[in-house]
Every structure is written in structure tokens, then in C-alpha cells.
């Protein structure tokens, strides 16, 4: 009896430490955010200025714009653009990258093009896209995707170079169809590279999308920020920024990280 209760209490102990361990980082993050807000609030009250509103003003602006439906609307538009250009960049960049990685001669010829396009400033691509294709949605999304494609190419080319030809031979001997080859042979090997490319892709793309919207669209978070820039309404600018960053963080936590875990299940089991 006594020993049983001893066991259960020691089990409770380990559970508690485990919980503390997993909640520890989370509490630290919360504390850090709270301190940031307090510092912000204090400095905004010490040096009051229209250009530097206290956090409560920002929250108020956020609530107002959300109630009017403005933030959800523009956020949805921007997220749509992020999603479409992200998908475009990943698909086109992966296709080109895998092709170059498995065709050394084509790679040698096209490598200067890749290096060149890697180094064109995002702004130049956006401006040129608007001039050549007009101030429309296609130009906007195309410009964003084009900014990201060279990065994807370089990452996926590395992935394709690292492909194990033994698996390719095996798939050939056992007459895998093109789809099976893609699903069971190619993608699992490229998965780490895809994950790396998407991770850096998302964070690059959502920044560029705002610029594209600012320069040539009449909706979206970037357009709104430009609008409030002209009105010199910093509280609203920060409100939109904050809302957008929050959404991107949620996407990162709820979508990107679980996906990464799911697709490496075999590796952890094998270890």
C-alpha cells in the first residue's frame, strides 16, 4: 500500500516537472511579449507623439478596423496572394530546380541565368512586371512568384543532386509509373529541401506581397498601409502589421511545423 502511494506520488512528480519543462519556454515568451508592451507603453507616454502611439491605441485601431470588416477583408486578399504566389513559386521553382539538378549540362548553361535572377532586386522585378503586364493581378502575383523562384531553384537543385540513383534504378526495374515515382521515390527524398524552400519562401513572399500591393493594387494589407501612411496614421499602420504578423505566426505553428513532423515519421522511428 505504502509503496504503491510512493510510486504514484513520484509519478506525479515527474509529470509535473515534464509539464513545467514544456510550459517553461511558453511562459518565457509571454513574459517577453508583456515586457515589450510595457516598455513600448512607457516610452510612448514619456515621449508622446502622433508618430509613436502607445500599444493601447494600436489595439483600439485594430478593434475599430476589425469591426468595420476592413482588416479581415484586406488580410484575406493579401493571404490569397501569398498563397497563390507561394504555390506558383514552389511548383515552377521545384520543376526547374529538379531538372537542372539532374541535367548537369543544362545546369552549366543556365547557371548564370539563375545567379543573375537571384540578384535582381525585388523592387525592379515588381516595377518591370507592372510596366510590361499592366497594373493587374497577374502581374502582381507573377512578380511575387518570380522573386521567390530563383531561391527555390537553388534549393531544389541541391536536393536533386543529392538524389540516390539506386532508388531511381529500382523504380525503373519495377516499372513504377510517373506518379508513383513522384510520390514514393522523388518527393520523400526531396522533402527536407522542400521544407527548407517553403519555410524561407513564406517569410520572403509575405514581405514582397506588401510591396506589390503598395505599388500597384487597390486592396490588401500593403495598400492599406500606404493609405494610412498618407494619412500619417501610425496606429492603424501598426494595427495592420500586427494582425498580419499574428496570422503568419499562426500559419507557421498550425500548418508548417505539424506538416514537417508528419512527413519525417519514418525517420524518427528508424532512429
Amino acid at each position: 500500500m505504502g509503496s504503491a502511494s510512493l510510486v504514484s506520488s513520484s509519478q506525479g512528480q515527474t509529470e509535473k516537472t515534464a509539464r513545467r519543462r514544456s510550459f517553461g519556454p511558453f511562459l518565457t515568451v509571454v513574459a517577453s511579449v508583456v515586457v515589450l508592451a510595457i516598455v513600448w507603453h512607457l516610452s510612448a507616454t514619456l515621449w508622446p507623439s502622433r508618430a509613436f502611439p502607445p500599444p493601447l491605441d494600436v489595439l483600439r485601431a485594430m478593434a475599430r478596423e476589425t469591426a468595420r470588416g476592413e482588416i479581415p477583408y484586406h488580410l484575406a486578399i493579401t493571404l490569397g496572394r501569398v498563397a497563390v504566389s507561394f504555390l506558383l513559386a514552389m511548383v515552377i521553382g521545384s520543376a526547374i530546380g529538379i531538372f537542372l539538378g539532374s541535367h548537369p549540362r543544362a545546369d552549366r548553361f543556365l547557371d548564370p541565368w539563375v545567379i543573375l535572377s537571384l540578384n535582381i532586386p525585388a523592387l525592379v522585378i515588381i516595377v518591370l512586371a507592372y510596366i510590361w503586364f499592366g497594373l493587374n493581378e497577374v502581374a502582381a502575383i507573377g512578380a511575387v512568384a518570380f522573386n521567390k523562384i530563383p531561391n527555390v531553384i537553388v534549393t531544389m537543385r541541391e536536393g536533386a543532386r543529392a538524389l540516390d540513383l539506386n532508388y531511381t534504378d529500382m523504380a525503373k526495374v519495377y516499372k513504377f509509373g510517373p506518379l508513383a515515382r513522384l510520390r514514393h521515390v522523388l518527393l520523400p527524398q526531396l522533402q527536407p529541401y522542400l521544407a527548407a524552400a517553403s519555410r524561407s519562401g513564406i517569410s520572403l513572399i509575405w514581405k514582397i506581397v506588401l510591396v506589390v500591393e503598395l505599388l500597384g493594387r487597390s486592396n490588401g494589407v500593403g495598400f492599406q498601409i500606404n493609405l494610412y501612411f498618407q494619412l500619417f496614421d501610425v496606429a492603424s499602420i501598426l494595427a495592420y502589421t500586427l494582425a498580419f504578423v499574428c496570422v503568419m505566426l499562426v500559419i507557421e505553428f498550425l500548418l508548417v511545423q505539424p506538416l514537417e513532423h508528419a512527413s519525417t515519421r519514418w525517420r524518427r522511428r528508424a532512429a
Binding site: Y167, K172, V173, Y174, K175, H184, P188, W266, R269, A270
Partner: protein, 251 residues
Amino acid sequence: MNTLQPVGADAQLEIEVRHKSFEASRGGSIEVLRDLNFAVERNEFVCLVGPSGCGKTTTLRLLLGLDHSFEGRIKLPGEREPRIGMVFQEPILLPWRTVEENVRLGLPRSLSGKNLDHLFDALGLSGMRAFYPGELSLGLARRAALARALAIEPDLLVLDEPFVSLDEATAQQLRCLLLEIWSERPTTVLMVTHNLLEAIMLADRIIVLSPRPSHVVGSFLVRIPRQSRNAQVCSDILRSFHEKFPARAAI
């Protein structure tokens, strides 16, 4: 089977390679095969032996259609696309798929959904179907590779040193399993090995290759039925093999 019978009279598999060479990375080329001709008959079990690096794996890659840059001709069994079951020198299982998925992925459409219980049972893999290859020992991984090759009911079974680097007991067990499954459903087999006793135990005929550039030195028929090839008989056969191919005493 008669040695005087012209090679390829009723051949299922004919290999006539006039020339095969590789570009060496430092320039120049190494000739691997020259005038390598042999044939394998329907349901014949042939072992291919030869010194290391003489081009055995290369020959198999040619007949599997994995390498097209050679001079010569290869005739595969059947008129339609033949089904070839291959066990590579390494197991080459997809690490991100389970044992069962690995085997099923090899199946042609006409056999998809096939019941594999018997095959897994026979190879002692029943308990491992849901395992990932990283969780298998080498012996088990080789069984899984064998299962994949046998599951497709091949017209031609090609094995590249399938039992190498296993301990002798495991290797012997796998040889017996292979023989058992093969006699249930005989098919044409071409197997590369370094182990002469293994070849003598399994084969109808042993084809001996020369060092590089490789050609056929001769072939050796094992006429004694398999069930009477015990250890004593095998070592007697080995002695007569060495008499016929004295240069091969080393292997």
C-alpha cells in the same frame, strides 16, 4: 541438358555484348566487357561467377535496361514487356515506406491487391510487414528485397550477390527459402555470386567469366538433382569444378 546443344536453341534470355566500356573519370576508358555471349533457358537456374570487378553487375544492368550505352544485343524472355524481379547487391528498399508497402509498390497493376500472406510467411517476414527498413537487420532487409522480387511473379529473376555479407547460417537459411519458393513456381533465374558452394547448391549451370575485359570462360553443368546435393556431394562437385577451371581456384 546437353553441352553440345547450340547455345540459345530455346533460350529465354540471350546476351551478346560485343563491347562495353566506361569513361574513366580521369579520361580514357576502361573496357569492361568484350564478346560476352551466353544464354539462359526457360526455368533454368544459372549462376554467374567471376573475379571481383570483372563486370557482373554491369552485365545485369545492361539486361535490366539500366544502361543502354553498349554494343551488342540482348534478348529478354517473352514477346511482351517481360517482368523482371531484381534483387540488387544492396537491398535498396525505400526507407520511408514499410516492408509491405515496399513489396506492394513493385507489383504490376494486374497483381495489385494480391494476397501476400503466403510469401511473407515463407520468407519469415509476417511479423515485419509494418516495419520500416531502418528497423530491419541486413538479413531481414534482404528477405524483404527478395519478397519484392518474387511477389511480381517474374518471368526472369535476377539476383546480384543476394546473400553476401550475411553470416553463413542466415545465408544458408535464405538459400533454402529461395529454393523452396523457386521450386513451387519455377522461373528463369540469373544469379551473380562469389560463393562457389552457393552456386553449386542452387544452380543448374554455372557460367564462369574471365577477368576484365570479361567474356565467358566456360560453363559448368550441375546435373545432380538439388535434393541430393548435401555437403559431401557439394564439395565433390566443387573439386571437379576446380579441375575444370584451375585458374579459378582462388575464389
